[in-house]
């Protein structure tokens, strides 16, 4: 089996588990929508403010959702000692990494779609130019999923995992938050062309952390 096939195998497994347990659907997505709602409580739905800060609120909510998705991705391995089986399966760790990260990315994409609709409706946002928006979101999602999966395996098995991963992950993905928000701002209210440099930055981040993940996942899995 080549790398892509192995990744597809692992991603398929994770997504099948998700399809049966419906955690993303029933918990993470509602969580994200509640956060959007809370932002409205916190910021006073004077339509002006929410509309202006909508991109930022959207991406912060996505990041918070990502913390849950990553936590879930490794919780399923911890159950029933599956991570030992994963280690001994003979699968290339890089493939396992790609698979798990891909599954997280898919879940995030679903979350983002729902939240985007939420943002358009709740915060009265109109989308000017969808191209840069979608590409920025894609790159950002891959970057966050890769980095999250990396920290997920790093902290797997540790009792403090649940509080550790958020504080490790968020500073590292701060450029993603920055770039994605700026790209969305450009696509929504500004000059859409301004978004492209940020798409570039997000892509570099994604490529970088996918690579780091492929290299580091194996060694980290050994310690899990």
């Amino acid at each position: 089996m080549n790398l892509v096939q192995e990744a597809a195998l692992v991603a398929g497994k994770d997504l099948r588990i998700e399809a049966r347990s419906r955690v993303t659907l029933q918990q993470v997505i509602p969580f994200g929508l509640v956060v959007l709602l809370l932002f409205a409580f916190a910021l006073d739905p004077d339509r002006g403010i929410l509309r202006r800060v909508a991109p930022g609120l959207f991406w912060i909510t996505v990041l918070l959702g990502a913390l849950l998705a990553v936590s879930r991705a490794f919780a399923v391995e911890a159950e029933n000692g599956a991570s030992d089986a994963l280690r001994l399966s003979g699968l290339d760790p890089a493939g396992v990494f790609l698979g798990k990260a891909a599954a997280v990315a898919v879940e995030l994409a679903v979350l983002e779609t729902v939240l985007a609709v939420g943002v358009v409706i709740l915060f009265d946002v109109g989308i000017e130019s969808i191209g840069p928006l979608v590409l920025a979101t894609l790159a950002a999602t891959v970057g966050v999923a890769a980095t999250g999966t990396l920290y997920g395996v790093l902290a797997t098995g540790l009792r403090v995992r649940e509080t550790l991963v958020p504080m490790l992950l968020l500073p590292v993905v701060s450029p993603v938050l920055l770039g994605a928000t700026r790209a969305w701002e450009a696509a929504i209210d500004g000059v859409p062309g301004d978004a492209w440099p940020w798409v570039g930055l997000l892509s570099i981040f994604a490529v970088l952390y996918v690579s780091v993940g492929m290299l580091a996942f194996g060694p980290l899995l050994e310690e899990a």
Partner: protein, 260 residues
């Protein structure tokens, strides 16, 4: 047992003390007050060197981590240096931010400015804190070293991205901020000397403290290992089995988490 020979370490300690005193003399008295900022500028002689060492310490942590990860150069020395440097790095980074606040307030009237450098330094602080949090999780020395080394490198490759993205973001949004921690245009003569001397003094301080912190790490790691061996021996003896525990046998096989 230490990074430097004891005699050198002692000499370095004294040299650091002298350098710091000289810096204080120049910084607080010898150098003239700034034409624009007045005396408040004297904080720059601490803030800038602190920032310099904050990033230097981070680099040392990253390089040490890489050296540990590379099988041919793997040694517990590098792991301990990485940890010690990170602890120092947190202190220098925190100090950089606080001194920046203390400097900014009288000069620009604000405790904080969303200036690219300050923001990047703030992110650096959190990267450090994350590393130290990871390091404090109980684990076998090898597991801890591996996790921390990889975490350090993940953070290290992030810093340029953070710096670049934040710098770009803030230059695009160059609003009313006149906050310019550099003001290099005004630095010359005694002021320039004091600034560079500050960098020197802080570097000496960093190296000296690194050596001391390293020694502490060696001592405490040794103590932990001996505690562990003793606990294992007691457990085995207490179980009343005839199996003898020999130190070094079980030390590698402890579970990833050990409660002391």
């Amino acid at each position: 047992m230490t990074l430097l020979k004891p005699a050198i370490s002692r000499a370095l300690g004294w040299a650091t003390l002298v350098a710091v005193v000289v810096l204080a003399l120049f910084g607080l008295w010898g150098a003239p007050p700034d034409s624009v900022q007045g005396d408040a500028q004297r904080l720059m002689y601490l803030h800038v060197p602190a920032a310099w060492i904050a990033y230097l310490a981070f680099g040392v942590t990253a390089i040490s981590s890489a050296l540990w990860l590379w099988p041919r150069t793997r040694s517990e020395v590098y792991d301990r240096v990485a940890g010690a440097s990170a602890e120092l790095g947190v202190i220098f980074t925190g100090l950089t931010l606080v001194l920046g606040s203390l400097w900014g307030r009288p000069v620009w009237g604000v405790w904080w400015a969303w200036d690219a450098r300050l923001v990047t330094t703030a992110v650096l602080l959190f990267l450090y804190l994350g590393y130290l949090a990871l390091r404090s999780v109980p684990a076998s020395p090898d597991a801890r070293a591996k996790r921390c080394a990889i975490a350090a490198l993940i953070a290290f490759v992030d810093v340029p991205i953070v710096h670049f993205s934040v710098t770009w973001w803030r230059t695009l949004h160059q609003q009313a901020t006149v906050f310019n921690p550099e003001l290099k245009a005004n630095i010359h003569g005694v002021m320039a000397f004091t600034l560079w001397f500050g960098v020197l003094a802080f570097t000496l301080l960093y190296v000296y403290l690194l050596d001391r912190r390293y020694r502490l790490a060696v001592l405490e790691d040794d103590l932990d290992e001996r505690e562990l061996e003793r606990a294992i021996a007691e457990r085995v003896a207490g179980a009343g089995t005839s199996v003898r525990a020999s130190p070094g046998d079980d030390a590698d096989k402890v579970p990833a988490e050990v409660t002391p």
